[in-house]
């Protein structure tokens, strides 16, 4: 990426039409068939694995009492019932679809694809290994740990997109403030709220997350109120661009609601919120370090 943000904004502004056709044009120009095939390969792979006999799929799940390198990877692509598979495929399609669009329009396509490859190939090992930190007689499986990683990447993609098409010149440095706020939000969602014990921890983490977000934004010289007003004006005045930004923002805030249910116990099993949280955090922290240092600035 060689042009300044202002220059890019002027360039994209030339393609921006009141009916949003500019966004469609830019999107169509940026999407590559190879990318789409790679993205679509994941649901196909998940579906193919699901056609295996249940005993085989169970053998591919990650048993915490008998961990192997193979199952550490395969477990994240295994589903035992169709509802579980459908939920994760739907979540993947939603996250990767919106994420890819934001990346293409935010000049972060290479960053997105690199992160996705990391999530698909390396994160299974990392998440499975970290699961061993809590010894228990259980088996872990399912793709939503990687889905949550995509959810953790989304604020970065949204920031890149906003810098390119919503608020030119917006600072990426403020994104950790969003992360702190989201961690607080997740704590409020996942931990029972009460005036005692764990409930206090949930409330305390939520409040701490909000405070950290405000403090971080202030220390970065960013006025939350002014930034919000700028974004609101830009969203309202830019058809197409505004809509995509809002969709991304709703996913950033709303996907944790899906990924961190208050009652994780479902029909004799329990949703692995630990993996969800690990995936979300790791997917933000690592890519942000690379993103903020300009490692993925595109030519």
């Amino acid at each position: 990426m060689t042009a300044s943000s202002t220059q890019r904004s002027d360039e994209t502004g030339a393609n921006r039409n009141p009916d949003g056709s500019g966004l469609r044009h830019d999107l169509a120009a940026g999407i590559r068939l190879a990318d789409v095939l790679v993205l679509a390969a994941v649901p196909a792979l998940l579906g193919a694995v699901f056609t295996l006999p249940e005993s085989t799929r169970r053998s591919l799940a990650f048993a915490y009492t008998d961990p192997t390198l193979l199952t550490a990877f395969t477990a994240h692509y295994v589903h035992l019932d169709p509802g579980h598979l459908a939920g994760n495929v739907a979540g993947y399609c939603l996250l990767v679809g919106v994420g890819y669009a934001l990346a293409v329009l935010g000049d972060a396509r290479r960053f997105f694809l690199t992160a996705l490859a990391t999530f698909l190939l390396a994160f299974p090992f990392v998440l499975s290994a970290l699961n061993l930190a809590v010894p228990r007689n259980a088996i872990g499986f399912g793709f939503s740990g990687i889905n949550m990683a995509l959810s953790g990447l989304l604020p970065l993609l949204l920031g890149a997109y906003a810098r390119e098409r919503i608020v030119p010149g917006a600072s990426i440095r403020a994104l950790p403030a969003v992360f702190f706020g989201l961690v607080g939000w997740i704590a409020l969602l996942a931990l029972p709220l009460s005036a005692a014990d764990l409930g206090v921890a949930g409330i305390a983490t939520g409040v701490a997350g909000a405070l950290l977000a405000v403090l971080y934004a202030s220390s970065a010289g960013i006025s939350i109120r002014a930034s919000a007003a700028d974004i609101a004006r830009a969203v309202a005045s830019r058809p197409g661009d505004g809509e995509l930004f809002v969709v991304g923002a709703v996913l950033v805030v709303g996907y944790p609601v899906v990924g961190f249910p208050t009652d994780p116990a479902v029909a004799g099993s329990v949703v692995n919120l630990y993996v969800h949280f690990l995936g979300f955090c790791l997917a933000f922290i690592g890519p942000f370090a690379l993103f903020a240092t300009g490692t993925f600035e595109e030519e």
Binding site: N88, N137, L198, G259, P261, N272, V275
Partner: protein, 539 residues
């Protein structure tokens, strides 16, 4: 007030037999009174409407008659008390002590359906009594519970006794001295504490300056016998020149109050009612100091850390208040009785309070059997999710039953609000249909098919088809546990799988499709909102 019905009538008739144990100068206040104790006690009907239930009979004995035979009741439709009724008839008669010392007065009438009460508390001999000062009067009513009584039965029709004795020297320090006045240093508030009885204190504070703290010592006022006692009440930030407080303790709920109820189902240990003669906003905070006898805690298996304190709100709800245990070193330094554990609760509002014990409460929130159909001799497992909805950690043996007979059990330990999932499995050698339950909660029905038949899932046929089992065959027969290990502490972690025995818990990384649909709906609504804003801007 009981209403009359054509059926279900119960008559209560009581006649007092005066009995008293001391004799001093007797004074009869007026002629419509029954005097006992050589005239030192005077009993007469009250002037209240309920006073019509009491009268002096031909022998000048006080009688209570709540039936149509009562000569003072003119209403021809009145027939008595309904069977199955509960309630309080207060202010029926009043007892006045006319002696010149102090007297402990109680009423002897051993009857489960009728209890004599004063100020909502029982005054029956053997439970507690009321201490009367010279010329002091107590108003007595009845607490009636006729559930289980027989229609037409005559409840009562026998004598009750009013007993009194002069306060013993031990009591005299509390009762005769009765009144203690304390002033600490010049300019400090002056406090006066009256002790009319073991379970009652009247506190008065004067000479209070703006923002002062006023500290009252209750001298181990009984909240529940001598096991739970009130040590004192402290008022912080008092903004009035004088304050008055009346405190009454009781082991059971007060006559017109409700028992302690809360989502965590605490066990009530004692009740305390505090009436105050000042506006709530004239005092910042109140600290209630109470103690519980160590032997009583041991006898009831109560962990001192589980002792808590509740306040009843104006709406009748019970709200837990902050309570802290007084450090043992502080107890020693302060010279407090070391045979008790001391607590200090704080509240900003005053009303009725309860000392209670936090207890565990295990709820089965979900239980399902898998598979739902098996062949005889095969194993079926029930996976049950349990939650400790109580206020204290605890453990409980959870039993899987088939048609009411135990099959397997586990001991589960949970902290408050903690949830765990346990697997309980058993083999079922006999064909039949089994209703499964975990800790009494329905866990579904298990079909055990005839090996020669077609009912089992493993046969690849419809698991719900008739297995051909007869009613006798359906009776629980020979199911055996394969999960019967009783392992204390199982499930004590927050990971639901920790409590299962052989089968590992499934921990899918999953999201719910319905919630995902909700997220999409949120996206749609947001887009619609933007469109609406744009339209408004253009117009």
């Amino acid at each position: 007030m009981p209403s009359a019905r054509n059926v279900l009538i119960l008559a209560i008739l009581l006649v007092a037999a005066g009995s008293l144990a001391f004799a001093t100068g007797a004074t009869v206040i007026d002629s419509d009174a029954d005097t006992v104790a050589d005239g030192d006690l005077e009993i007469q009907p009250t002037d209240d409407p309920n006073g019509q239930y009491a009268y002096l009979n031909d022998d000048d004995e006080i009688a209570i008659d709540i039936s149509a035979s009562n000569p003072k009741i003119r209403d021809p439709s009145f027939e008595g008390v309904n069977v199955g009724a509960t309630g309080v008839i207060d202010s029926i008669l009043e007892i006045t002590y006319t002696g010149d010392q102090y007297a402990n007065v109680c009423i002897g009438y051993p009857n489960e359906s009728v209890t004599f009460i004063a100020d909502g508390n029982s005054v029956e001999c053997g439970t507690t009594n009321v201490t009367l000062a010279p010329n002091q009067t107590v108003t007595v009513g009845l607490n009636i519970d006729t559930r289980g009584a027989t229609v037409g039965a005559q409840l009562g029709a026998d004598e009750f006794s009013i007993e009194a004795k002069i306060a013993e020297p031990d009591d005299a320090t509390t009762v005769t001295a009765g009144v203690s006045t304390q002033q600490i240093g010049g300019g400090d508030p002056t406090t006066t504490v009256k002790a009319p009885s073991d379970n009652r204190r009247e506190f008065t504070g004067t000479d209070i300056e703006q923002g002062d703290q006023v500290r009252f010592d209750a001298d181990r006022m009984h909240l529940a016998d001598g096991n739970v006692t009130l040590e004192g009440i402290d008022l912080d930030g008092v903004r009035t020149g004088s304050v008055e407080l009346d405190a009454v303790g009781n082991a059971t709920p007060f006559g017109n109050g409700s028992a302690l109820t809360a989502p965590t189902t605490p066990r009530p240990m004692a009740y305390l009612r505090v009436d105050h003669g000042f506006a709530p906003d004239e005092v910042d905070e109140m600290a209630i100091r109470f103690s519980v006898d160590r032997d009583h805690l041991n006898a009831t298996g109560t962990d001192p850390d589980d002792v808590t304190f509740y306040r009843q709100t104006d709406a009748g709800e019970w709200a837990e208040k902050p309570v802290e245990r007084v450090d043992e070193e502080v107890v020693r330094v302060m010279g407090l009785p070391e045979d008790s554990v001391h607590f200090r609760a704080t509240t900003t509002d005053f009303s009725t309070f309860a000392v209670a014990e936090r207890v565990p409460r295990f709820d089965v929130t979900e239980a399902a059997v898998a598979p739902e159909a098996i062949d005889p001799g095969d194993e079926a497992a029930v996976r049950a999710t349990l939650r400790n909805g109580g206020g204290a950690a605890g453990e409980r043996r959870v039993t899987l039953t088939a048609n009411g007979d135990p099959v397997a059990n586990r001991t589960v330990a949970l902290a408050p609000n903690e949830t765990t999932t346990v697997a309980l499995a058993g083999t079922f050698p006999d064909a039949g249909e089994y209703d499964l339950a975990v800790a009494g909660a329905d866990a579904g029905t298990l079909l055990v098919g005839d090996p020669a038949g077609e009912g089992s899932e493993s046969d690849g046929t419809d698991a719900g088809t008739d297995t051909g089992a007869t009613a006798d065959e359906n009776a629980r027969g020979g199911a055996s546990s394969v999960d019967g290990g009783d392992e204390p502490g199982a499930g004590s972690t927050d990971e639901p799988g920790a409590g299962s025995a052989d089968d590992p818990t499934e921990e899918p990384s999953a999201i719910d499709l319905v919630e995902l649909g909700g997220l999409l709906a949120g996206v749609t609504l947001s887009l619609a909102g933007i469109a609406l804003v744009r339209r408004l801007q253009r117009s």
